[in-house]
């Protein structure tokens, strides 16, 4: 096989792996958008907040230590213990559920029946609040997140491909793990929404609020549930992203990359979020590899957005979105 083709194949594989992370963030958006019509700008910050909380709990950090020290003149920073990863993840899930409850209790319950733009503005507010809150709670330094996921080059793939093609593919173990976990997550979500009572209720709420109420579904409960699930998805995305490049505040910017993913896949489709994420991941890596050298590189910054723009012109509902047809 010619070298160029082998490189392209490797780039494609790596693009798929990057796409999985985009897809994970986009998934959180889709869940909330479907159930409540809210475009949750804070989804990226939720991933950051989840990752910060996870690291903080694992390291036994004292929450709000700066604030406590400033008020009481104390010098506390650490409890002096380390929590095992699994326990810390469970605790973080609890924190995300509490967050989901608080978001609904204090923000969205007061905004029922408001215009979408108002709900959207509320989530922008939530995003900045949560970023500041995360800073205040856990500090703003870049943190290392290690929950024991394998990292580094996968030697088996490297060797196998070297023996077969005379060129070893570089695939990060972490990316493989991320892909597997994302696949399990999606399967889990599909089973949840298709085969459980709560899943059925969730689809009902997504479709028609009034009808859902009339069959005995509590909208508040479903909204807290869906924000909790989105919080859980954010945690998974936060763990993957954090393990890859450290937990830092730029993590919240990944939310922006999820936008073109959603335009491609459609705002209301779970498979759309996955496929959209993969297309953007592969597309931007391949484009950079093939066209990048011709135009001076750095195409990864804009490729996704231009692709999304093209989709907006020719297929505004996305690949899997519902086409809106209004009867007149």
């Amino acid at each position: 096989m010619p070298d160029q083709l082998l490189f392209a194949a490797e780039v494609t594989l790596n693009g798929l792996m990057a796409g999985v992370l985009y897809a994970l963030v986009a998934l959180g958006f889709v869940l909330i958008y479907k159930a409540s019509g809210i475009f949750n700008y804070a989804q990226g910050v939720m991933a950051l907040f989840a990752a910060l909380t996870l690291v903080g709990i694992m390291d036994g950090q004292v929450p709000f230590s700066h604030l406590i020290n400033a008020i009481f003149g104390t010098e506390v920073h650490h409890f002096g213990w380390h929590v095992p990863a699994v326990a810390a993840i469970l605790l973080t899930i609890v924190v995300m559920v509490v967050l989901a409850w608080a978001v609904n209790r204090f923000i969205f319950r007061h905004l029922v029946n408001q215009e979408p733009i108002i709900l959207f503005m509320a989530t922008i507010g939530l995003a900045y609040f949560l970023e500041g809150f995360g800073d205040l709670m856990w500090g703003s330094d870049i943190k290392k997140l290690d929950v024991g996921l394998p990292q580094g080059i996968n030697l088996w793939i490297d060797e196998t491909t070297y023996n077969a093609f005379g060129y070893g593919f570089f695939i990060d173990n972490l990316d493989i793990v991320a892909t597997v976990i994302a696949a399990l997550l999606v399967i889990g979500l599909v089973i949840f929404s298709q085969y459980t009572k709560q899943g059925r209720a969730l689809r009902a709420v997504a479709d028609d609020h009034q009808a859902a109420l009339s069959v005995g579904i509590s909208l508040n409960f479903i909204w807290v549930l869906v924000w909790s699930v989105a919080g859980f998805v954010a945690l998974v995305a936060g763990i993957m992203w954090g393990a890859k490049s450290g937990v830092q505040f730029s993590l919240s910017l990944i939310a922006l990359k999820a936008l073109p993913v959603l335009m491609l896949g459609g705002f209301t489709s779970i498979p759309g979020a996955i496929v959209g994420g993969l297309i953007i991941g592969v597309g931007e890596k391949l484009f950079e590899f093939l066209i990048g050298p011709l135009v001076g590189g750095a195409t990864e910054n804009w490729f996704a957005y231009v692709l999304a723009l093209l989709f907006l012109v020719f297929r505004p509902q996305g690949l899997f979105g519902e086409k809106i047809i209004e009867r007149v």
Partner: protein, 272 residues
């Protein structure tokens, strides 16, 4: 009007029991507009109770008070011998009151079967962990619920469209699916908001037959709002007549038909 509380048997052999629901001095205002003014009436077990009146009389508002969508400023709602506190619509549904809507509220993206299955949500008790493991209780529950839903689907003769997404159905069938969903909940009280609005004569006849059959076979108590006077008089055991938010008549179809206020309201006599 039959004001005895004892049960009695109708000429066609159905048994009407004691009071199931009682509205006492209900007043509902929207800002300065009075939608319902000091109305009292009751609904007895097993009967078909109609609420009629000209446009804007407050019929739908009354139905929305019963189903918890509107909260009256004054008055008491009694259901099965207990006074109801401030409730949300979903709590009312869980108490056993199912309803349909004037403008059809179905889950358009789901199939007919899934729509009717949502009617069983109040009957599904297994928690998330049990369902996650898909063992015993949750599975038996799903099978039992599914069996009941299939019975309702057969009963309303919509087997042929079981797997069709509701969004693709014509208006008349949508109305029937909505009735199926409400019926799937095995309600103690079934509220129908203009079940025949916008239907042609044949569809109206079908719907009338289904309403009578539901009442007859399952003994379901039904309260319905309807414009079509002929239909109402044929279907119902007792009728409440509303006009401008007030109750102007209450009784059997024959009694109501002879009531001068009711005749005035329908023929349009100037209000003083």
């Amino acid at each position: 009007m039959k004001d005895t509380v004892e049960s009695y048997t109708t000429p066609d052999g159905r048994t009407i029991g004691g009071v199931l629901m009682e509205m006492k001095n209900i007043t509902l205002r929207f800002g300065g507009v009075v939608a319902i003014k000091d109305i009292s009436f009751d609904i007895r077990e097993g009967e078909i109770r109609a609420i009629i009146g000209p446009n804007g009389a407050g019929k739908s508002s009354m139905l929305n008070v019963i189903s918890g969508f509107y909260k009256p400023q004054e008055g008491e709602v009694w259901f099965r011998g207990e006074r109801r506190g401030p409730v949300k619509p979903y709590q009312v549904a869980r108490e056993g009151i199912a309803r349909t809507f004037q403008n059809i509220a179905l889950f358009e993206g789901m199939t007919v079967l899934d729509n009717v299955m949502t009617g069983r949500i109040t009957h599904m008790k297994a928690g998330l962990p049990a369902q996650a493991l898909w063992w015993g209780k949750a599975q038996n529950e799903e099978v039992a619920n599914r069996a009941h839903v299939e019975r309702v689907i057969d009963f309303l003769e919509i087997q042929a469209i079981r797997k069709t997404p509701v969004g693709r159905l014509p208006y008349g069938l949508k109305k029937r699916v909505e009735l199926a969903r409400a019926l799937a909940a095995e309600p103690k009280l079934l509220l129908l908001d203009e079940p025949m609005a916008g239907m042609n004569v044949e569809e109206k006849e079908d719907m009338s037959r289904f309403i009578l059959d539901v009442n007859d076979e399952f003994g379901t108590t039904i309260a319905l709002i309807e414009h079509d006077m002929g239909v109402v008089m044929d279907l119902s055991d007792r009728v409440v007549v509303m006009d401008y938010g007030k109750k102007i008549g209450d009784g059997t179809p024959d009694e109501v038909r002879g009531n001068q206020d009711v005749i005035d309201a329908y023929l349009g006599v100037a209000h003083d």
